[in-house]
């Protein structure tokens, strides 16, 4: 589940009367709970790591920046997780990467841009599917330092 999907879930729940919501998957547990102040807490546990805890989306963004590094696309193009359709992806969820390690390729007009990690850390979120178009500045990965 990507951060985007979690945000979508949050927006969906905000417009309902649901007070508490819990989703459990093998590698992910999401619990959304609306507290006494009108805004719900967002409590995300991913790969066993406490990722985001914040009372609202605005603050959640700030905390994401504080806790996790966001790798963004340097240009408009197509996002590839592997150097060729047959090859293994450069990184997977949970991969531990070093600074300078290639995370993905962004292609535009047959210019291939190998996007390198500017930080060392663990990949905790892959926000774009293979082969999808991305915009300039679009978040691609979340890294936990």
């Amino acid at each position: 589940m990507s951060l985007k999907e979690i945000k979508e879930l949050y927006r969906f729940l905000k417009n309902t009367d649901i007070v508490e919501f819990e989703l459990e998957q093998p590698d992910l547990k999401v619990r959304l709970k609306r507290g006494v102040p009108q805004r719900p807490d967002v409590d995300v546990v991913q790969s066993g790591v406490r990722q985001v805890t914040s009372p609202g989306v605005e603050k959640e963004k700030v905390e994401t920046k504080k806790n996790l590094h966001t790798v963004v696309s340097p240009m408009v193009g197509t996002f590839y997780r592997a150097p060729s359709p047959e090859a293994q992806p450069f990184v997977e969820m949970g991969s531990v990467v070093e600074k300078g390690q290639v995370l993905c390729i962004i292609e535009a007009m047959k210019l291939m841009n190998e996007v390198e990690s500017e930080y060392g850390g663990k990949i905790v979120s892959i926000l774009v599917d293979n082969g999808q178009p991305v915009e300039y500045g679009e978040p691609l990965f979340l890294l936990e330092p």
Partner: protein, 334 residues
């Protein structure tokens, strides 16, 4: 050329000069070793490396060495020697057989090679195109080169350099084929329906700054139809197939570096518009039905031009116009 390769080459080419001066006869090893102040063993070593570079040097017992013909000699010295450029090709790395010139150039650039450094190879064992597809790279017939550029432009402007490269290639080939060359988006150079040149660029960038761009260019020059794998024969062509004449790869490559530099300077000074205009003049797709294959999907529609960034617009049957920055364009070019 650079480093040890350069120093060794300089000695080698003094031997070539001596052999060229007496092109109608043999020169003994003793004469060469006297003239250049080196041992006869050293002469023999240089002769061996010259042969590896493609020089056909005949050795006859008791008579010496003779240069057989001067046909399309292709190496770093021949290129660097007669190059009339300021940036591109000022540092030439020649490989008789490279894995991939792009890989070598990428590594050199990572190690800090200056702008304008070029890698050229007589053949490649691992020539590749988009998404690691193979680029046929037999030795002795074609051009395979990679150019390192370090433009002060934001990364999002860098894809324009690939279209610029195709315009430069087209300009050079037009002296041979004035009426039959076209460009297929974004940067294939075609003769009729068949590809004569392919370009693959790679970039290393920070969020707001290009560290370097590698322009990888392959041109099919003297490769004959039979030498292409059978599955490529309907899709690929070469200069010799189209003109019937063998072309000098060295001359062609020097012209290419010159043309690339001219367009590159124009781009840095005046922006993308001159490149875009020229591209559109030879671009084939306007008004044509196209299918753009992307990872897992195909976008079909009518090509309706390129924008100021070079991206392709395709109008779909729903009337929706899609802006395309990556993919394989399949079109009925008839």
């Amino acid at each position: 050329m650079n480093g040890t390769q350069n120093r060794a080459s300089a000695q080698c080419f003094r031997i070539i000069e001596i052999l060229r001066d007496s092109s109608n006869g043999y020169v003994s090893g003793a004469v060469i070793s006297d003239k250049l102040g080196m041992s006869r063993t050293a002469v023999w070593k240089h002769i061996t490396s010259l042969r590896k570079m493609g020089y056909r040097i005949e050795a006859r017992h008791s008579r010496g060495y003779r240069l057989k013909g001067d046909d399309d000699l292709y190496n770093g010295y021949e290129i660097a020697g007669g190059l009339d450029t300021e940036i591109i090709g000022k540092d030439v790395h020649f490989y008789p057989l490279a894995g991939s010139t792009n890989n070598i150039a990428y590594k050199l650039a990572k190690e800090g090679a200056p702008e304008g450094t070029v890698v050229m190879a007589d053949g490649q064992t691992n020539g590749r195109g988009r998404l690691n597809r193979r680029w046929e790279s037999p030795p002795g017939v074609n051009i395979y080169t990679s150019i390192i550029l370090r433009p002060s432009i934001p990364p999002m402007d860098a894809p324009k350099l690939t279209m610029l490269s195709s315009v430069a290639v087209l300009e050079v080939l037009r002296t041979f084929l004035p009426n039959s060359l076209f460009l297929k988006w974004p940067n294939d150079v075609l003769v009729g329906h068949k590809k004569i040149s392919g370009i693959l660029a790679e970039m290393d960038a920070e969020a707001d700054r290009v560290r370097f761009v590698i322009l990888g260019i392959g041109i099919n020059v003297n490769i004959e139809k039979e030498a292409f794998p059978s599955e490529l024969r309907p899709l690929a062509t070469s200069l010799i197939e189209e003109t019937g004449c063998r072309a000098s790869r060295a001359t062609l490559l020097k012209d290419l570096y010159f043309s690339l530099e001219r367009w590159y300077k124009l781009f840095l000074e005046s922006g993308f518009e001159p490149v875009r205009e020229r591209w559109e003049r030879y671009g084939l797709l306007d008004g044509k039905e196209v299918a753009v294959r992307q990872f897992g999907t195909t976008i079909e529609g009518i090509a309706v031009g390129i924008d100021s960034d070079g991206a392709l617009f395709v109008r779909r049957s729903t009337g929706e116009v899609t802006r395309i920055v990556a993919g394989d364009v399949v079109a009925d070019l008839g």
